[in-house]
Symmetry: C2
Subunit: 242 residues, 2 copies
């Protein structure tokens, strides 16, 4: 491998994210429980989110706008604006959420930072992701943060052009096969899949592709072996930072 840039997905790769969305969705379902059972509410919210994705994109602000719209649909507008106020507060709570860095992340970054240009490559709101990176205390490991409006092949081609490197000099590390792995492999880059929950990975391991440029790992620390950087010292555990 002739790597120059290693890019890390952020949410659920560097730090915990999805559980905050899930917790907010649970609060939303409780808020509207008089109108529909939980799975109906979740289904409607998901539908509104997907319909709005081309317009709102990824991130908390679009999620909250979709949640308000879904609440109007689910209740057939039989709610007071207090419900809307509560949902606005959910959004602010999410934007202020604490950062919980995942295990071994800091150890991996510190081992790689002098050998490669490290970047964060993530979807979502720029301000929100910058804030999380700052709160995490990990910012100094990265050359910069790349916010991508989507993570399809074209988006990675644009990113690689922007980085002024060739695809085989690029490696992406992330928790999503669909967003972090497949498109990167397809354009000639390298990719490592680090599932967010190990259990999840084991359940789905039979669907994983085989490719010279692809590795599946259980723990992010295995990335060091893949790129040939020796382990130094003992891995540090993740600890919550606010």
């Amino acid at each position: 491998m002739n790597l120059k840039v290693i890019a890390f997905d952020a949410d659920d790769t560097l730090w915990v994210n999805e559980p905050y969305f899930q917790a907010t969705e649970e609060r939303f379902c409780s808020l509207l429980e008089n109108f529909s059972p939980q799975h109906t509410i979740s289904k409607e919210l998901f539908k509104v989110e997907v319909d709005n994705l081309p317009l709102y994109g990824y991130g908390i602000k679009g999620y909250i706008l979709s949640m308000i719209e879904a609440a109007l649909n689910i209740s057939e507008k039989n709610i007071s604006v207090d419900v809307v106020e509560t949902i606005l507060q959910y959004g602010k709570d999410m934007l202020n959420q604490p950062i919980e860095i995942l295990n071994d992340v800091e150890h991996v970054l510190s081992s790689l930072k002098d050998r490669y240009r490290l970047v964060v490559a993530t979807k979502g709101d720029l301000l929100d992701q910058e804030r999380k990176l700052k709160k995490s205390g990990l910012a100094h490991y990265f050359h910069h943060i790349e916010i991508m409006s989507d993570k399809k092949e074209d988006d990675y081609i644009k990113l690689i052009k922007h980085l002024d490197i060739s695809p085989d000099e690029f490696m992406m590390i992330g928790n999503s096969l669909k967003s972090d792995v497949m498109p990167v492999i397809n354009i000639g880059g390298h990719a490592v899949h680090v599932p967010f929950h190990t259990t999840w990975a084991h359940e789905h391991v039979e669907t994983v592709l085989t490719h010279d440029n692809f590795k599946q790992v259980d723990k992010i620390s295995e990335v060091l072996e893949i790129v040939g950087v020796a382990e130094s010292g003992s891995p540090q555990s993740g600890s919550p930072k606010v």
Copy 2:
């Protein structure tokens, strides 16, 4: 000058933007006219927007969330959720707004593109700005689009580091003295101020700074003289594109 990169602000520099926000604010004031006079509504909306700026940042989605919050405040929650639904629609209308390219912009870009690396440097939502750039038909003139969470000195230092150039190799062109000019001059870059409305510029011309790295122009086509690129052919007029 030893310029390598010329960065253009987007909204109200490449295309019309502010009038869409103003028109939406007028609709919002009409919607709530039973509760307060227009200037009180505008004042409250502005207050909520500014309070939320650290959390929401710039862009239409944050603007709409703030508008909903302001409507709750102004009405003391004496509105139905129909009003909320209407405001959500304002947001979708804004995100779907047509692109009206400003005069001479295309001529300037086509004259500069083979001599400099051109980038768009703008605040706001990445997806929204990418969509506008695509709709404008101007995307092919630019190396890439830089979305900045803010336009303060630190943000420009980060941008210039990211571009791998020195400050004196960088020129920013935009309609805001505060965001596009002052911070760039302060870190050693070049800047050109192109006011959105010429009348506005004339009213404020006495406040404009004098600096070797700074030029104030009435029309964006004057940028060509500043960087020493001869005018070729007649400037094209802007035309609306959807």
